[in-house]
Symmetry: C2
Subunit: 322 residues, 2 copies
C-alpha cells in the first residue's frame, strides 16, 4: 500500500468530486505507483462523459493565458472545468513552472475548476506519465470539460493532445523561423485554429496566412460540414475567448450529429492503448536492464546483432512479463 | 526489391565512401523499407569508429548556423564530417526546412562533408525514423565525426541526441520564458554548453547563469576530471567555434582515458535497442490495427478493460510477430 489510504478507497470519493481525493489519486498516478492500478481501472469504467479538449501551441504562443481565460468562460457558462497542463519541468527545480498557475490565480478557490500541472520529468523519465489517467480521473469526477494543455513540440505532446475530441492549435504572430517550423508540424491536427495576441499589429497577417492554408484544402477535417475556423484572440482584452468556447461547443455538437464522436472515441482508445503499451515496454526494459537487456547489449557491442535484431529478440523475451 | 539496385549491393560502395550509394541507402532507411534491413545489419558490423556528437538546443538558439561553422572547423582539421539534421517538417511542403541547408552552402561540393536533413513526418509518423541508422551509415562510410543535430524539445529528440558520445547543448541569450522552460529540461544532458550569439549584450549574463548552475553541482558529468565547459560562440564573427571543437576533441580523449568511452558505447547500444523496440511495437500496432487492436478497442469502448490491461494483452498477442 503506497499511502495511508488505499487508492481503491479513494475511488468513491473521486466519483463524488472530492478535491482532496482527486489530488491524491492524481499524485499516485503520476508517480506510476502500481498500487493505484485497480483504482484507475475502476475509474476508467466511469469515464466517457466529459468533453476532452486538447490545446497545443508552440512556445511563446500564449496558450497558457488563453487556457485560463477559456476556463473562466466555461465556468461562466455554468459548467465544471478541469485543466491538465503538461509543462516542461526543470531538473533543477524538480517541479513544474509556476507561471501558468499564477496566471490562473483568479480561478483558485472555485470547486468547479481543477487545475493540475504535470511535470515532464526532465529528459529521462517517461513524458507526462499519468496525464491520460488524470483525464480519466477528471472525467469520472464529473468535470464537464477537461482541457489538456501541452507545448506542441515533440511526438509525445502531440499524441497526448490527440487523446481529445476537439483539438485547438494556438499560433501567435511574430515568432522566429525555428518556431514557425515547429508550428508547421502541428497545424494539420487542428479542429480549431487560434491566433493569439491579436492586439499585435502583425496578427492579421497570421490569420490571413492560416486561412489561405486552409483554403488550399491541405488540412481538411474528416468531419463533414466542419470548416476549421481561425479565431483571433487576445488574452489582454479577452477578445475572441467567447467565440473560441462557442466553436469548441459547436465542434462537440457536430461530432455527435455526424456520428463522428464514436469514431473519435475509438481513435482515443487506440492511442491510449498504444501509449500504455509503449510505457509498459519501457518499464520492462528498465526492469530487465541488468539481465536480458545487458546480455543483448553485449551481443550488440560484439556486433553479433544489429539494434533491430536485438529489439526483436527483446520483444520476444519480455512479452510474458506482468 | 525496393529499387533498381538491391540495398545489399550498396553496402560495399557505402563502405568505400561513395556519395551516391550513401544517399540511396539513407533514403531507404528513412522510408523504413524492410528490403534494406540486411544491408543495415551489415553496415552496423562496420561501425564504432566515428566520434558521434549530439548537438541540441531550443528553437532560436542558432544551432544550425553553429553546426555549419563547426563542420567547417572539423574539415579544416583534416577530418571528414557528416551532419544529420533532424528538422521539424511541414506537412504542407512535405520536406525539411531549407534554411539550414542554405546556411551550409559553403560546405557543398566537398566530398569530406556529408549533410543530411531527416524529415520528422509531421505529427503522425515515427519521429525521425532512420536517424540512428543514418549515423551507422556515416560511421561505416568513414566519416570521422558524425554530428546529430536536433531541436531540443521532446523526448524523442533528446533520446536521439543521447545516442552520442559527446552532447553539446546550445543556449542563446534573450529567449522568451516558454523557451527557457523547455531549455531547463535539456541542460542536464550536456557534456559541453554553448551560449550562442555572444555578440549580443545579454550573452554574458547567460554564460554567468549557466556557470552558476554548474557550480551548484547540479549537472555533474559522470566523467572524472571533466568539468562541463561553457563556451560563448558567435556565428557572425566565428568566435568560440575553434574552442568548441577543441572541447569536443578533449571530451572524446577524456572518455577514452577514463575508460568511460566503453560505458558510453554500452549506453548507446541500450538506447538504440529501446528505440528499435519502440519502433517495432508501433509497426506491429499499425499492422494489426484492423485485427487484434480493433478487438481490444471494442473491449475498451465497452469499459471491459482499461488502457493498461489492453496494452498488456496487446504486448502478449503481438510479441511473436516478425
Amino acid at each position: 500500500m503506497a499511502g495511508p489510504v488505499a487508492s481503491s478507497a479513494l475511488v468513491g470519493r473521486v466519483l463524488a468530486g472530492e478535491t482532496a481525493a482527486i489530488a491524491r489519486l492524481l499524485s499516485r498516478a503520476e508517480a506510476g505507483s502500481p498500487e493505484c492500478r485497480p483504482a484507475l481501472r475502476e475509474i476508467f469504467r466511469h469515464t466517457g462523459r466529459a468533453h476532452v479538449v486538447g490545446i497545443t501551441g508552440v512556445p511563446g504562443s500564449g496558450k497558457s493565458t488563453l487556457v485560463a481565460k477559456l476556463a473562466r468562460a466555461v465556468r461562466d457558462s455554468g459548467r465544471k472545468v478541469a485543466i491538465i497542463a503538461v509543462d516542461p519541468s526543470s531538473p533543477f527545480s524538480g517541479g513544474s513552472i509556476l507561471g501558468d498557475r499564477i496566471r490562473m490565480a483568479d480561478l483558485v478557490g472555485d470547486a468547479g475548476v481543477y487545475i493540475r500541472s504535470m511535470a515532464t520529468r526532465g529528459s529521462l523519465g517517461g513524458l507526462a506519465r499519468g496525464t491520460l489517467e488524470a483525464v480519466d480521473v477528471m472525467d469520472a469526477a464529473g468535470f464537464d470539460v477537461v482541457v489538456i494543455e501541452t507545448v506542441g513540440v515533440g511526438q509525445d505532446e502531440v499524441d497526448v493532445v490527440q487523446a481529445a475530441y476537439t483539438t485547438v492549435v494556438v499560433s501567435a504572430p511574430g515568432l522566429g523561423d525555428d518556431i514557425q517550423a515547429i508550428k508547421a508540424g502541428i497545424l494539420e491536427i487542428a479542429d480549431i485554429h487560434v491566433v493569439s495576441k491579436c492586439d499585435r499589429p502583425d496578427a492579421n497577417r497570421a490569420v490571413t496566412e492560416l486561412k489561405a492554408m486552409l483554403a488550399l484544402g491541405l488540412a481538411l477535417s474528416p468531419l463533414p460540414d466542419w470548416s476549421v475556423p481561425v479565431i483571433a484572440t487576445s488574452a489582454e482584452t479577452g477578445e475572441g475567448v467567447a467565440e473560441l468556447l462557442a466553436s469548441i461547443d459547436r465542434h462537440w455538437a457536430a461530432l455527435a450529429a455526424s456520428g463522428q464522436r464514436e469514431a473519435r472515441r475509438r481513435r482515443i482508445c487506440e492511442r491510449r492503448m498504444l501509449k500504455a503499451a509503449e510505457e509498459a515496454l519501457r518499464e520492462r526494459f528498465h526492469r530487465h536492464r541488468d539481465g536480458q537487456v545487458s546480455e543483448l547489449v553485449e551481443r550488440m557491442l560484439r556486433r553479433e546483432v544489429c539494434p533491430h535484431e536485438a529489439a526483436r529478440e527483446l520483444l520476444t523475451r519480455i512479452h510474458m512479463e506482468a
